[in-house]
Symmetry: C3
Subunit: 557 residues, 3 copies
């Protein structure tokens, strides 16, 4: 009897621990529920909590089972991730190419691991220890890189899709200051129309490929523009607009940088189409009747989609009809496109654009250009006053296969870089433990590498050196935030090289070599801004020098 | 014995649970205490925690008793709510009309439930399920509406009061971007004076009714202004000022939009009057003597109120004297008012106002005007450069009984709408689950309704369609935040109608009706901006057309 | 048996409590780990948690051992405090004067307690109850004061140091709006050089003492400036620069106000020197070879410091070499200084400065000046447009020993005040419980006192009255944030006195004395802005009036 009692004591304690564990999780849950305001934290909190668990192994499987209810709620709340999960899930059903793509991704991951193994002579590889492949570990390895699968599908049908990139500020507190910025991507098949809507965010729209007609409505005015690759236009928040792919063959691809007005990170759209989410439906019958001075039945028949059908449908049908209701992208007849084309202006080719007119990134001379690459840029200071309010620059960068955009840093601007076409490699230099709250002391520099594929996004904070090499012809689109008075400081090359500006006595004190040695080294790179990416190309290059014709041809390419 | 032991096990477990529960609450409390920085979260956390409890029924009455110490602290910290509670408490004693008002409210709620039942053909009524009447459920039902009882009384005596509206950002993360904006309301009986003070916030002051003299002091300057209904003036942060009700009969009612300078949402005032909170008292005896080059006794006698009396008073008396100490609002003799009047300028009637001069909202032509309503507006672009820094517009809206301000949305501006006079109904169209952290997907539009009474405030976020109907002559005051380049897009009516700007082919693709049908429908409403609210008034209206004299009289009304 | 069982029940409960306590701490830890985004909160949370513990005595030593893993992690995360601790530790070894200073501090504290006892007639001393002396209690007593030991050493060697002040927003939510502002202090021995780097923050640099050459590099340009005491220059974020102490004898002391660009409160520096944290090392071998068009071995030899040596060193040596690696401050030969001097401009004496040229605070007439003190000020409005973007003013204030800067408040500007030289006393008037979340009701004014020593920093929020007296000649440097349209309102003295602007009838209603009495009192202080600090000096003063020569001499002093 006594022994039973003694042995029961640890049992009671064990039970106590189990309960405590479950309570603890419950506490954590309340906590999470109580922080809807700074959402990034919530998610990160969870991630870190999970890491913590795994690292310290505090959760034995049995305990975890006990705490299941808590954990379940936990997971249910993991919104961002969950939506993404959903998205992947739904995509699996709707997108037949997904498996092929997944196979492709698995392959590129494998390739990448191999490639990285080959580069074992690199000086710092703190990421080496972490497990590769998993999305989480990649984020930890390179928080600056948002792979294209971080876009969440907002809408998708057989004609195209609308996708929204994960919030930057939810990824890491490195991007706290980007809480108002989001990236949206549109893709539309030929002869289709994104129906009228307005968005509660300022938009900078750029055409990545294809030919569009964009129509922008104001209360007493309407403007239509023919847009093509490189055309860029600001659509102020709350502007009702619609977008047509006017081309007969090519898909239209468009990207928006959205800057939220009402709430950080929110880019809610208000639609004039569809059944459930047409915003006119939001008003009561009385208000609609008085507003249109018409009976509700007529309003419903003419402006709002019929409900009768829906109510007669089975649940299965209703689900299908729901898809149709939110049909943001519909087919347009050739005749309708001709009608829309008639009034559209092709103003993008004009030299100086008026207030709300679009401009083409490539209509001016490139800021930097040589046989290895080109950079076109629109800054807020000139040409496009509309960017001044937003304090944003836009660049289009072309790097030829086998070439390199030389190491440089932006003095003030935080760059949101989108890979439009091609593949390459980006190296970003940051400060180790920058993500942590430590003070600036005993810190080391750290390289963050990113293999670039179309659709990937990289954030380059101000002051952080960066270099990009192209393994195939690479086309990048860059939005620069805090653009005014930004300086691009190159670290190598003959022009705009800030290191070569250091005075000789200081060069000697800064670097191990003598001033003469440093200067000789700096002169070795005769190109500016863009150069050949491989040391093996040096020979190639010198050969090319002997054939000036190929060089000229190359420039015209 | 064995049975006793067995039965003790669950007992121990039960006790364990009780302790765990209490610990959990204590944890939560520590947590709250540790988050003074983002205060909105704290409160919301608590609210959600409470909801959680109620929903899941985790707190049986007996448990709640066990956890009392924790809960008590909880409640003590629930500042905002508590203050409000107090206020309601005091109102119950001081405001004899409260019961009548409560009866009125109960009745309107009942009416409303009935009305809503009638409108059972309306598509979306998610609010139906929630319990009506309670303040919490109303907030959840319509987070955009702040009923007049959400004003907290900062000061109150027989001459009037000062009230501060609940922080917008504490209500919901929908209003995260409004963290710097507060509404303050002043009411003063005839021949009274709000004593000199300065506030650490920029103020936009508007006279709702009555006649005032406002005196604004600068280090080497003083300006006095005669203000009357509609007069508006910016008082820069830190400006010492005082305000007199110069009228012999009418109460003075003034509203301030306060934009905080030091800390989000803080509008601390520094007073030159009163005993405890006169800021000169904050300096030490030594500093005061040196500063005034005078003995402390004299300074105390002349500038600071006597302490001797207080120390001799009983507790009861002290409490009364405490009231007087913080006497922000005192009676002024007719002679004193005459003296103050002599120097005051009535500049508000001038066409263009100089830098700090007041202007009258109604001194210019209304932006919109017809027999159903009028909208006067001052935008930052012109006339009043002072609003430019603050990027705010101010409108005064009049809607006649039985009329409707037609559905519209503001493209950029977030509107803080105060009901000055009259009653009406407002419908705001939002996106369902907008309050949650979900991504923008599978969302439906949702109607948020608000019965408007004097003193109520509604926040209308940018891009959100809204319509207001008047059940009695309605006067609204609107502050628009992010005013620059704001466009008011009407959705019905003949002018400024953005839907009528959609091209015909797109109309056909967007709406179920043909372009012809849509255009015919849009032309049915021949009025602009304001129209009749009821379909029954259509007949009435056509009658009125036949009697142009009544129409003209109506316009002059 | 039965008794054993009965007595075991409380034992089980006790054990339960212990576990609950430990779990609770673990919960708290997770929590903290999960909030990297709003870092101030974390720290404060911890501080409060600790206070809580100490106050309630919940941690007996044995319990603390139980919870050790949790606490360890806790401490590891306590970055700010820990770094500071480290710093104090290192200071104890390196600074021989520390003990003397500590003795001094102890003495002044003693004196102060005595003084305060004498002043027992002062109305409000809520701080009386709190324990004196400890840093924590001081913070609670005066959150506005940052003693010089709140600077964290980022770098230190025999030539000087770089120190960074604790984040303002981490101290208290009073300074929430200062999250982007940091103070950095540099000190360098004669003939030394701070090596080239760039910082991801805008800097306003002011020379406190000594003579410097500052070189600022742009991609295609270089400017060198001779700077001396009072010279001030804006260095835009991301600008590569280096700084020489060109003097033969005097130490150079410089202070930067840093305004972060990427992330609130972050002022990460990117260095071109040193081994581990030279940012060029961040790039891969391949990129470096291609960028410099040179073999890696050469690049390493000339630009990057040798790694070979390090790997052969013992741990002891490595630690020393690590010091050298991060050698931000090196000795420069006289000859090198001459070379650097040749191109430097001494532009600071010019009347109006061009865009990026430095200016001297004292090159213009003082804004206020009399025999008791002087105030020099550069405002964004004129002379220096660069400050306009940043909306900052800079003042240099001199208060003579025994004098007083009269009570005043800034209408809009939040002032960051650094004590450069001398000692004194500052009184700041705030609102009691301002730090808490309570609404603005039933609040009292409260005095916050600070004994000023060189290196101390005080934050003076807008609208808060302040007075400063000098116990030895006092030199203050002030950065004013939200500078535009700021008004300095004096509360005593003959000029700029806002109280004397109040009209007579209102004076009578505001103050206990009659208007006549108030006016007579206000005229007693015939000086403006600065006056004598002691009432005993009044006699002295009147004597001085009789000897105008001493007065004149005094003015020239």
């Amino acid at each position: 009897m006594a022994t039973t009692n003694k042995s029961r004591l640890p049992l009671v304690l064990l039970l106590g621990i189990i309960f405590l564990a479950s309570v603890c999780v419950t506490c954590a849950n309340y906590d999470e529920g109580s922080e809807p305001r700074v959402p990034g934290k919530r998610e990160r909190g969870r991630q870190e909590g999970e890491k913590e668990e795994k690292r310290h192994g505090e959760w034995s499987p049995s305990r975890e089972k006990e705490a299941q209810p808590g954990r379940e709620r936990w997971e249910r709340k993991e919104d961002e991730e969950q939506v993404e999960e959903e998205w992947r899930g739904s995509q699996r059903h709707e997108d037949p190419d997904e498996r092929a793509r997944e196979r492709y991704r698995a392959e590129t991951t494998r390739k990448r691991v191999e490639e990285e193994r080959e580069e074992s002579d690199r000086p710092y590889q703190p990421e080496r220890e972490e497990e590769k492949g998993s999305s989480k570990s990649q984020e930890r390895r390179n928080p600056f890189l948002f792979k294209s699968n971080k876009f969440v599908t907002l809408f998708e049908n057989e004609n195209g899709h609308i996708r929204l990139l994960q919030r930057f500020d939810k990824r890491s507190d490195l991007f706290e200051n980007l809480q108002n910025y989001r990236l949206v991507e549109y893709r539309a098949k030929p002869h289709t129309l994104f129906l009228p809507q307005h968005i509660e965010a300022d938009l900078i729209l750029t055409v990545l490929s294809g030919k569009a007609i964009l129509t922008v409505l104001r209360p007493n005015d309407r403007n239509s523009y023919n847009l093509e690759r490189g055309d860029t236009i600001k659509i102020p928040a709350g502007t009702t607009s619609y977008l047509v792919n006017q081309d007969d063959e090519q898909d239209l691809r468009v990207v928006d940088l959205a800057i939220s007005v009402n709430r950080p990170g929110k880019v809610e759209s208000f639609n004039l189409y569809g059944n459930k989410n047409q915003y006119l439906r939001g008003f009561s019958k009385n208000i609609l009747e008085a507003s249109f001075n018409t009976k509700y039945e007529t309003i419903e028949k003419v402006l709002l989609e019929e409900q009768d059908k829906e109510s007669q449908q089975s649940i299965g049908q209703r689900r299908r009809s729901q898809r149709q209701e939110t049909n943001a992208l519909v087919r347009v007849s050739r005749q309708q496109i001709e009608e829309l084309k008639r009034l559209a202006k092709s103003s993008s080719k004009k030299g100086v654009s008026s207030e709300l007119e679009p401009f083409n990134l490539r209509s001016q001379n490139p800021k930097y250009s040589n046989k290895f690459g080109k950079l076109f840029e629109i800054t807020p200071e000139k040409k496009y006053p509309q960017l001044q309010d937003l304090d944003i620059f836009i660049s289009s960068v072309e790097i030829k296969e086998g070439a390199l955009m030389l190491p440089h840093y932006n003095s003030r601007a935080i760059v949101v870089l989108l890979v439009n076409e091609g593949k390459g490699n980006l190296e970003l230099v940051g400060i180790q433990n920058e993500q942590q709250q430590q003070e600036e002391r005993d810190k080391q520099v750290q390289r963050y590498e990113a293999r670039l594929s179309p659709g990937d996004v990289v954030i380059i904070p101000a002051g952080h050196p960066v270099a990009v090499s192209a393994s195939s012809n690479l086309n990048l689109l860059a939005f620069g935030i805090n653009a005014e008075n930004n300086q691009r400081n190159f670290l190598t090359g003959s022009d705009d090289n800030v290191i070569s500006q250091i005075e000789n006595p200081v060069k000697e004190l800064t670097f191990p070599g003598s001033a003469q040695e440093v200067n000789r080294l700096l002169k070795n790179q005769e190109h500016s801004h863009f150069a050949s990416a491989g040391p093996e190309q040096k020979e190639e290059e010198s050969q090319r020098k002997r054939s000036p014709i190929s060089l000229i041809l190359d420039t015209f390419y």
